[in-house]
C-alpha cells in the first residue's frame, strides 16, 4: 500500500486548479451535470462546424443526434454489465421495442412528442418487467442467450406476423407535432444555429437528465449494492440483501433508460426532423452485439466510458465508411472505407487487450501518470500481458 492511500483527503491551500480540487469535485453531481450540459451544447457544433475538429470528425447534425441516443443506450447497458454484472446481449429489444411503441402511438393515438416519449418508455418498462421475470432466474451465459432470444423474437414478430401493424420490413415513419404544441423541432437559424435544431435541444435535455439520474443512482445505496451483488453475490445474501430485487431494480432502470434511448432514436431517424422512423432491423442482434463492443471499448462501470465508446465506434463508422481511398495494386478489393469494421475490430482488440478498462481506463491511467510519473511503467507492466502477470482488473470502478 502506498503512502498516498493513508492520507485522508484534507482541505489544502493549493490553487483552484489542482489535483486535490479535481478529486473533490469530479464525482459531484453538479460537476457531472455541468459537464453534460457543456458537452451537449458544444457537441453538434464540434463535429459539424468547429474549426479543425469538424475536419477530423466529419460529422453532420443527424449524426450528433443519433450518437446522443446511442450514448443513452450505452449507459443503459452499462447499468447492467458495468454496475450489476449482468451481460445483456439483447438490448436491441428496448432499442427497437420502444421505437415501435412510439411509432404506433404517434400514428394511432397522438402526435405530441412528450406523449410519444411516454408511450415508448412505458412499453420498454413493461417489456423489461416481463423479461426480468424470466431472465432473473438465469445466470451468466444463459441470461445473455435468453436476452438475445427475446430481442430476436421481437425482430421476427415485427417483420412478419405483425406486418399489418408494423408494415414489415418497410417500417414506420410517422411525423409528429411541435413540442407542447408550441416549439418547433426543426432546424435552427440565427444565434442558436450552433445547436442545430429544436430536436437536438429536446434530445439534449433527456441526455443531461439521464446522466444526472445515473450519477445520482451511483451515489445512492443502490450504486454500492449493485456493485456488491456483482462482486460477491453469496456474501450480499448472507448480510441480508435481497439480491433478486436489486437485480430486478437494475434491470428495470436499464429498461427505462433503454426505452428513453430507443424512443429518442426513433425520433431522430425520420425523413425529416419532425418525423421518426423505426424498422425491424433495430431489434436485430447486431445492434445488441455492437453495443457490447462500444461499451467495453469505452470502459465498463463508469459514466464516461460508455459515452466515449459509443462516440469512438460511431465516429470510426462515419469517418472510414466514406473513405474512397484504395490500396495501390489492390484496387480489386475496393475502397478501404468499406472495411471499417475490421479497423474497429483491430482497435477493439488492441485497446481491450492492453487496457481492460477500455479507452477511459487508458485515459485515467495516463492522467494518473501525469500526477505521479512513477505509476505508469508499473501499471503498464501489469496491464500488458506479455510484460508480466498482472491481475485481471476488468471491472474497475473509477
Amino acid at each position: 500500500m502506498s503512502g498516498e492511500d493513508l492520507t485522508p483527503s484534507v482541505e489544502t491551500d493549493a490553487g483552484l486548479i489542482s489535483w486535490e480540487t479535481w478529486d473533490r469535485i469530479k464525482h459531484t453531481e453538479r460537476f457531472i451535470a455541468g459537464t453534460a450540459i457543456v458537452f451537449v451544447l458544444t457537441f453538434s457544433w464540434a463535429i459539424t462546424s468547429a474549426p479543425v475538429l469538424s475536419d477530423i470528425f466529419q460529422g453532420y447534425h443527424r449524426l450528433a443526434l443519433s450518437m446522443l441516443a446511442w450514448m443513452l443506450l450505452g449507459l443503459s447497458f452499462n447499468l447492467l454489465l458495468g454496475q450489476t454484472g449482468l451481460l445483456s446481449f439483447g438490448h436491441a429489444m428496448f432499442w427497437g421495442g420502444s421505437g415501435y411503441a412510439a411509432a404506433l402511438f404517434a400514428i394511432h393515438v397522438h402526435d405530441a412528442p412528450l406523449l410519444i416519449m411516454v408511450a415508448g418508455v412505458s412499453f420498454s418498462v413493461v417489456l423489461g418487467f416481463l423479461a426480468a421475470l424470466v431472465l432473473l432466474r438465469l445466470h451468466g451465459v444463459y441470461f445473455a442467450i435468453v436476452t438475445l432470444a427475446i430481442a430476436q423474437t421481437l425482430y421476427r414478430l415485427a417483420r412478419e406476423p405483425l406486418e399489418p401493424l408494423t408494415k414489415g420490413i418497410n417500417g414506420l415513419r410517422p411525423s409528429f407535432g411541435p413540442l407542447l404544441g408550441v416549439f418547433e423541432l426543426g432546424e435552427y437559424h440565427g444565434p442558436l444555429e450552433f445547436l442545430g435544431s429544436g430536436m437536438y435541444v429536446f434530445v439534449g435535455i433527456f441526455f443531461v437528465a439521464t446522466v444526472v439520474l445515473i450519477a445520482r443512482i451511483r451515489k445512492s445505496p443502490y450504486g454500492l449494492i449493485f456493485k456488491a451483488v456483482q462482486e460477491n453475490e453469496t456474501r450480499a445474501r448472507a448480510i441480508g440483501l435481497n439480491v433478486w430485487r436489486y437485480r430486478f431494480a437494475a434491470f428495470m432502470l436499464s429498461a427505462f433508460i433503454g426505452g428513453l434511448a430507443g424512443t429518442l432514436y426513433f425520433m431522430v431517424t425520420g425523413p425529416g426532423l419532425s418525423s421518426g422512423s423505426v424498422v425491424p432491423e433495430r431489434m436485430l442482434w447486431t445492434n445488441s452485439g455492437n453495443l457490447v463492443v462500444m461499451v467495453v471499448l469505452g470502459g465498463l462501470g463508469t459514466i464516461a466510458g460508455p459515452l466515449i465508446g459509443v462516440f469512438f465506434y460511431q465516429w470510426m463508422g462515419n469517418f472510414f465508411n466514406g473513405l474512397e481511398w484504395t490500396i495501390p495494386g489492390l484496387e480489386i478489393v475496393g475502397p478501404v472505407g468499406q472495411y471499417w469494421q475490421l479497423l474497429v475490430a483491430l482497435a477493439f482488440t488492441t485497446v481491450v487487450w492492453t487496457y481492460p478498462d477500455g479507452i477511459w481506463g487508458m485515459i485515467t491511467d495516463f492522467t494518473g501518470a501525469l500526477r505521479d510519473p512513477r505509476s505508469l511503467p508499473e501499471k503498464t507492466m501489469e496491464k500488458i500481458p506479455w510484460l508480466g502477470s498482472g491481475d485481471d482488473t476488468r471491472r474497475g470502478d473509477r
Binding site: M1, D5, L6, P8, R216, I217, K219, S220, P221, Y222, G223, L224, I225, K227, A228, E231, N232, T234, R235, A236, R237, A238, I239, G240, L241, N242, V243, R245, Y246, A249, L253, R395, G396, D397
Partner: protein, 253 residues
C-alpha cells in the same frame, strides 16, 4: 427459557450421502459454543443449512422460537443471525469502508429499499454503524484501502467485520483463524471473546485450532459423520472416550 438457536432432527442429504444425520442441538443466548469434528463431518454443511444457503432434507431450526426452515438466506440474516465464511468472502474491489457500509445498509434499510435517489452520505445511521465496527475491528487506518489489497489476515478480519456491521445477535463463524499467523490468531481470539463479553453476542464457532477451541468455548459440540456424538464443557469433551476415539486421537492429553 427457550434456547436462542435450536435444531431438531436436522438432516441433510446430498444424493445418497447423509451429511447431517438428525442433529439436535441448542445454543443459549450469550453462550460461546464451538463445533468440532474431522474433515467432512458436516460442520460447514450445518452452518450453511442454518443460515439458509442450503435447505435441509428434514428437521426444524428455531431461532428465537421461530421456525426458519424455508426462509431464504437474506431473510435469516435480517433476523440478526449472521455468519462468516471459511474463505475471506469480501467485496474485493470496494474499499474497506464500503464493504462495511454495504452490510450496514442491509441492516439499517432492510433487505431491499427503493430510495435509489437518496445520497449515501445522508444515511447517518449507516455511517455511525460503520465507524463503530471500524473501531472494534481496528481497521480505521485502512478504511480507504481496496479490500483485495489487504494482507490475508486483515481480509479475514474484514470478513468478520462485515458480519458485525449487520449488528447480529448471534454470529456463526466458519474457521475464523484458518490460515492465520499466530499473532493474527491471538488477535482474532481476543476479538471473539470481546464480542461475547462486551457486546453480549452469542457465538457459534467452527474451528480446527484446538488451543482456540478449548481456550474460549463455554461448550463444545462434536460432529462425526453428520451425527452429533458429544456435547459439553471443554473439560468433559477432552475426557470423553467417544470423542477421543472418533476425533482427538492422541492429540490432546
Amino acid at each position: 427459557m427457550m434456547a436462542l438457536l435450536e435444531t431438531e432432527g436436522l438432516t441433510k442429504e446430498f444424493g445418497g450421502l447423509r451429511a447431517l444425520d438428525s442433529v439436535d442441538m441448542a445454543v443459549e443466548k450469550g453462550e460461546l459454543v464451538s463445533l468440532i469434528g474431522p474433515n467432512g463431518s458436516g460442520k460447514s454443511t450445518l452452518i450453511n443449512v442454518i443460515t439458509g444457503l442450503l435447505s435441509p432434507t428434514d428437521g426444524h431450526i428455531h431461532y428465537r422460537g421461530q421456525d426458519i426452515v424455508g426462509m431464504s438466506a437474506h431473510e435469516i440474516a435480517q433476523l440478526g443471525l449472521s455468519r462468516t465464511f471459511q474463505t475471506a468472502s469480501i467485496f474485493p474491489e470496494r474499499t474497506v469502508r464500503e464493504n462495511l457500509e454495504i452490510a450496514a445498509h442491509a441492516t439499517e434499510e432492510g433487505s431491499f429499499s427503493v430510495n435509489f435517489l437518496r445520497r449515501r452520505e445522508d444515511f447517518d445511521g449507516v455511517h455511525a454503524r460503520t465507524d463503530d465496527v471500524l473501531e472494534v475491528i481496528e481497521l480505521e487506518e485502512e478504511q480507504d484501502t481496496t479490500a483485495e489489497s489487504l494482507p490475508y489476515g486483515d481480509k479475514r478480519r474484514l470478513e468478520v467485520a462485515i458480519s458485525l456491521a449487520t449488528g447480529p445477535d448471534m454470529i456463526l463463524m466458519d474457521e475464523p483463524t484458518a490460515g492465520m499467523s499466530p499473532g493474527e490468531t491471538d488477535m482474532t481470539v481476543e476479538l471473539i471473546e470481546g464480542l461475547q463479553e462486551d457486546r453480549g453476542m452469542t457465538i457459534f464457532l467452527v474451528e480446527h485450532d484446538m488451543d482456540v477451541i478449548f481456550g474460549v468455548s463455554d461448550r463444545i459440540f462434536v460432529l462425526n459423520d453428520g451425527e452429533l456424538i458429544a456435547d459439553g464443557p471443554p473439560d468433559e469433551i477432552r475426557e470423553d472416550p467417544v470423542v477421543r476415539e472418533a476425533y482427538l486421537g492422541g492429540e490432546v492429553t
